[in-house]
């Protein structure tokens, strides 16, 4: 996913002279191509994320299309108020990228991990929230963000989980993408890094339907309600807090639609990573390992 991201950024700047890349002194190798091909569009704003978002707002007001890059723990979390007031209140076309979302920075601890970004931004009007699962969804989300004259956020999580799709999805904004079909009465809705885990488990059973949700806002509520009418239980999977993220979105949607399908939310449930280790270790720590998903599916099928 990361080489794709680098290529998409560079192509965006080459295609549109209004595009600028702002970073809070992060990015390392990710921006090598961009800096060599579009050096004058690269603005390192220093370790000062609040000012960076304000500067992006000023640039956007004046007609530029800033892409603001930071770690998810900082952009959008640390700068939530600037995102709300400087960007969203005025509906400015600023693209925010939150890298390392979830527990990607597994060895650095809670300061660099981010399980709250989607929940925080879902409460802020006017901003679109994207959470791609692979490089093809990333390309789809990137096009959506740059084509829209509005605020948007890309949740850029674990990037090496492999391909889900074979090409860039051609779906309407807000649609979930079916990635596995099946007639079981249990289905999985997953987003970001967790789509790959969902597919692994579904393939063991052969009849578990799986949807990927690359777009949290907007979201096709009717599509979800329709899908859940055929299920007795839907499992949601996200490398994010179960409060306010995809699990909440799915719960709210089917409750409001009056669909009698039980929801089992799998995600980060009210705890920080107090221990460190590999990404896979932390997934298990938070109950998000493949074995945890398998166990949950088995229990749901037996229910």
């Amino acid at each position: 996913m990361r080489p794709t991201f680098s290529r998409l950024l560079t192509a965006a700047a080459q295609a549109d002279e209004r595009v600028l890349l702002l970073t809070g002194d992060h990015g390392y190798a990710l921006f090598d191509e961009f800096r060599s091909k579009c050096a004058d569009r690269y603005i390192n704003c220093g370790v000062a994320e609040q000012n960076m978002v304000g500067v992006a707002a000023g640039l956007a007001k004046a007609g530029f299309r800033p892409i603001v890059y930071g770690l998810g723990a900082f952009v959008p979390l640390r700068v939530l108020e600037q995102v709300k007031m400087d960007i969203c209140y005025e509906k400015l076309p600023v693209v925010l990228i939150g890298d390392g979302a979830g527990v990607v920075y597994s060895t650095l601890g809670a300061s660099h991990q981010c399980a709250e970004d989607v929940a925080a931004l879902r409460a802020v009007p006017h901003i679109r929230i994207h959470s791609p699962a692979d490089r093809f969804e990333l390309a789809y989300c990137f096009t959506e963000m740059l084509d829209g004259e509005r605020p948007s956020y890309l949740r850029f999580g674990k990037a090496d989980c492999g391909d889900i799709h074979t090409g860039v999805p051609d779906v309407a904004p807000g649609d979930m993408i079916p990635v596995r079909h099946g007639d079981a009465h249990v289905g999985i809705v997953a987003t970001g890094s967790m789509v790959s885990s969902a597919v692994k488990v579904a393939d063991e059973f052969g009849n578990i339907p799986v949807w990927s949700a690359p777009s949290i806002v907007p979201f096709n509520h009717d599509q979800l309600a329709e899908a859940c009418r055929k299920l007795r239980q839907v499992i949601t999977l996200e490398e994010h807090s179960i409060a306010g993220g995809l699990g909440s979105l799915v719960s709210e949607t089917i409750a409001e639609a009056g669909v009698g399908c039980r929801v089992r939310r799998m995600g980060i449930d009210g705890k920080f990573s107090e221990l460190c280790g590999s990404w896979n270790y932390l997934l298990a720590y938070h109950g998000l390992a493949v074995e945890d998903i398998r166990r949950t599916v088995v229990a749901a099928l037996a229910a």
Binding site: Q50, N51, G63, Q82, D86
Partner: protein, 277 residues
């Protein structure tokens, strides 16, 4: 209401008249922050009268006008008074202040024609102004950004981030004007969070600094004029020494006019001092 495209006639921006508009609004809306507005009256008068180039009602992406960033959004009634004098706001906007369904709020908002930033949250506006100044530099336009920052607002961390950025990126089209009235919401700046010498601080950040009496219009004008001729890569700052509540004797240097509403008696007394005939 006039729309962008029709020329705006230059007005006198007579400080007493502007203060009368503020009192008129504050009484109509039964609102606070009068002292915050009064300390920046002369600063705004000088900017609107002479320094702000182009039509302030045009959208921010236009390249033929300067920007006025009221980062200390609490002084917004002073800007409304100027926009009223320009004809951007009408009498009804002042007299219906804070009425149900009206659009003028108690803090600066970019949805109001003539206002370039939404800056009720202190410490935000200067960064947005820095972005506008950077945009002008990148587009090689002659646009300048005049950003009014409160001394109390300088407690906010992003102000200092913005200063570092402005200096590093050589934004000599940025003019930060600090309203140094030496008060903030709950007391004097010395009591709440001592700022020391603002001139020394701005200078140490690499700014070209002038310190003036913020109610002396000719001194303000001269300081801005001098800074405007120095396009030497340094961001500019004017430290304007002001008096909170300036213009009405019983409001001057009395911080309760940060949060006190007018009664009929104080309204009439203020208007009398301001020469309402």
């Amino acid at each position: 209401m006039p729309t962008a495209g029709q020329p705006i006639a230059r007005r006198s921006f007579e400080p007493k008249a502007l203060r009368r508009s503020v009192i008129r609004m504050a009484y109509a809306g039964s609102t606070v922050h009068i002292g915050c507005a009064f300390s920046i009256i002369e600063i705004l008068a000088v900017l609107y009268r002479k320094h702000l180039q182009g039509d302030c009602r045009k959208p921010a992406h236009c390249t033929d006008r300067d920007y006025l960033v009221l980062s200390k959004g609490h002084g917004i009634m002073a800007q409304y008074a100027c926009l009223h004098e320009l004809g951007v706001l009408g009498d009804q906007d002042l007299d219906a202040y804070f009425g149900d369904g009206t659009r003028l709020k108690g803090l600066s908002e970019a949805h109001v024609p003539g206002c370039d930033v939404t800056a009720g949250t202190l410490g935000h506006g200067l960064s947005v102004g820095v972005g506008l100044a950077l945009a002008a530099k990148r587009r090689r336009t002659a646009q300048r950004v005049f950003a009014i920052v409160g001394d109390g607002e300088m407690n906010e961390g992003p102000i200092w981030e913005a200063m570092l950025f402005a200096s590093h990126f050589k934004l000599d089209n940025l003019f930060v004007i600090v309203d140094e009235n030496r008060f903030q919401a709950m007391g004097s700046t010395d009591e709440v969070m001592a700022l020391g010498s603002l001139s020394a601080k701005f200078e140490s950040f690499g700014f070209d600094v002038r310190e003036v009496d913020g109610h002396d219009e000719s001194a303000l004008d001269a300081a801005l004029e001098a800074l405007e001729t120095h396009r030497d890569g340094r961001a500019k700052a004017v430290i304007a020494r002001t008096v909170k509540g300036r213009g009405v004797s019983f409001m001057e240097d009395d911080n309760k006019w940060h949060y006190t509403r007018l009664t009929e008696a104080t309204y009439l007394a203020a208007m009398q001092e301001l020469g309402d005939g």
